[in-house]
Structures are given as structure tokens and as C-alpha cells.
């Protein structure tokens, strides 16, 4: 096994130490509070997607009542129609006929 060249190794270590010291002479200033605050504020004040949508829809004052009204209509209308005897339901057989899938019908093309 070859003996390591101690002189060369020592030189390299010294070179590396010198280089490290040289590099250490370049230090940068830490971030000041203003920069830190600017970054935090930029994120905290960043509108979230649903908030952006809400703003497009006119904000809570307009979008809120409009949403409440649409929900009320959605629930209330079927109930009201049911009370008045109106119904939108159709018999299952009719659906098959309307869709043209009723195999009992004999379809002919003229």
C-alpha cells in the first residue's frame, strides 16, 4: 500500500484553510425588519381565490343575499309545486318510450 504524500496533504489542507478564510471575508448583512415585514405582509394581504371570486360577485353585501335567495328558491319551489298538485314526475314506461329504448314498440322506417 503506498504511503500518502504527507507534504502534499498538508499543503492542500493549508490551501483549503486559506481559501476558507478568504471566502469568510465576504459576509452579507442580515435582513432588516422592513424586508421581513414586507414579505410577510405580501402573503397575508394576498387575496385567496374564493375571496377574489366573492369580490367579482360584488362582495358579501350583494353575493350573500343573492346566494340566500337562490338556496331558498331551490328548496321552496319544489315544495310549493308539490302542495299545488303539480308534479314534474313521469311514469317510467313513458321515459323508455320517449328515449326510444322501448323494445315492445315495433319501429319501422318509411
Amino acid at each position: 500500500m503506498p504511503t500518502p504524500d504527507t507534504d502534499t496533504d498538508t499543503d492542500t489542507d493549508t490551501d483549503n484553510q486559506d481559501l476558507n478564510q478568504w471566502l469568510d471575508s465576504y459576509q452579507v448583512a442580515p435582513a432588516d425588519m422592513a424586508v421581513q415585514q414586507r414579505i410577510i405582509t405580501s402573503i397575508v394581504s394576498r387575496p385567496q381565490p374564493w375571496r377574489e371570486l366573492l369580490q367579482v360577485l360584488g362582495g358579501w353585501r350583494i353575493a350573500g343575499p343573492a346566494f340566500a335567495l337562490s338556496v331558498s328558491l331551490g328548496i321552496g319551489t319544489p315544495l310549493w309545486l308539490g302542495q299545488n298538485g303539480n308534479t314534474t314526475s313521469i311514469a317510467q314506461d313513458s321515459v323508455w318510450t320517449v328515449a326510444g329504448l322501448d323494445s315492445s314498440q315495433d319501429w319501422t322506417y318509411e
Binding site: 490551501d15 483549503n16 486559506d18 481559501l19 476558507n20 478568504w22 471566502l23 471575508s25 465576504y26 459576509q27 452579507v28 448583512a29 442580515p30 435582513a31 424586508v35 421581513q36 414586507r38 414579505i39 410577510i40 405580501s42 402573503i43 397575508v44 394576498r46 385567496q48
Partner: protein, 168 residues
Amino acid sequence: MAAGDQAAFAQLVQRHLNDMLAFIERMTGNRADAEDIAQDTFTKAWQQARKWRPGRAKYRTWLFQVAMNQTRDRWRRQRPTEDLNEVLISPEPMPDQAADSAAQAQRVRAALLALPERQRCAMILSHYHGMNNIEAAQALEISVEAVESLLGRARRTLRQKLATEREA
């Protein structure tokens, strides 16, 4: 963080800002740019928090990755047709160049900026941020062997600069 907790984000900024700012400033050689890129980095980290996988890399390493990508994006946007290193070698005037230590720091800064981008990045992560080769490889998204090679070449170049400086 992934859940979008703003208080946690503020804490993360406090913990990592100095590291990111120092890294970006040494990469670009420009404080004002570094502050802007640091802001972009944290904004990106906030938006992409879900992309960080705890098993793959430390949060700090991932953040360096984001910072590096943001730095590259900035270079691309500023001068899309020029070589990155040409853009970088435009040192800011130091306010007190007469002072020996400031002049020395300026020379180190110029020497770092003259390194190719990846060598500079590996050198900064390794020397100034205490990353071992595995962490640097994760941050640079390259193999450990590639990091060793980059560091070897960077140190050789810098040693030559140092020797030239001493001779002068």
C-alpha cells in the same frame, strides 16, 4: 404551512429569511435583487407548500431549491438572450472600497460571481450554508458525484484567484 396557516408562514420567514437572502445575494451579487427574489421565493413556497415532501428533503433544502429557481427565473426575465454569467459580473460599487476588509470582500464576491452558475451555487451552499454534499445534491437536483465535481472545480478556480491575489 401546507394548510395555509399565515402565522406559521410568518415564523418560517423569520427563521429562513437571512439564509435565503444571503444565498441569493451571493448568487446575484446584488442586494436589491436579492430582496425581491427572496420575496418571490417565499411567495412561491407559500403557494407550493403542498409540493414539499418531508421524506425527500428537509424544508430548508427545498426552500433553497425554490430560491435557486426563482433566481434563474429572474435572470431569464431580465436578459433572456445573454449568458447568465455576463449578467452577473456587474458588481455594485461598494461604499467604502478603501477599507481593506471591504476590498477583500469585494474581490471574493467578484471571484464567486465569475464562477459558472452551478459551481457558484454548490460552493455557496457548501461553504456559507454548511450543507454537506448530499444536501447540496438535493438542492441542486443532481447526483452527489456531480456536486463533488462542481465543488472540486470551484475550489481549484478560487484557489488560483487567491494565489494570483497574493502574488499581486
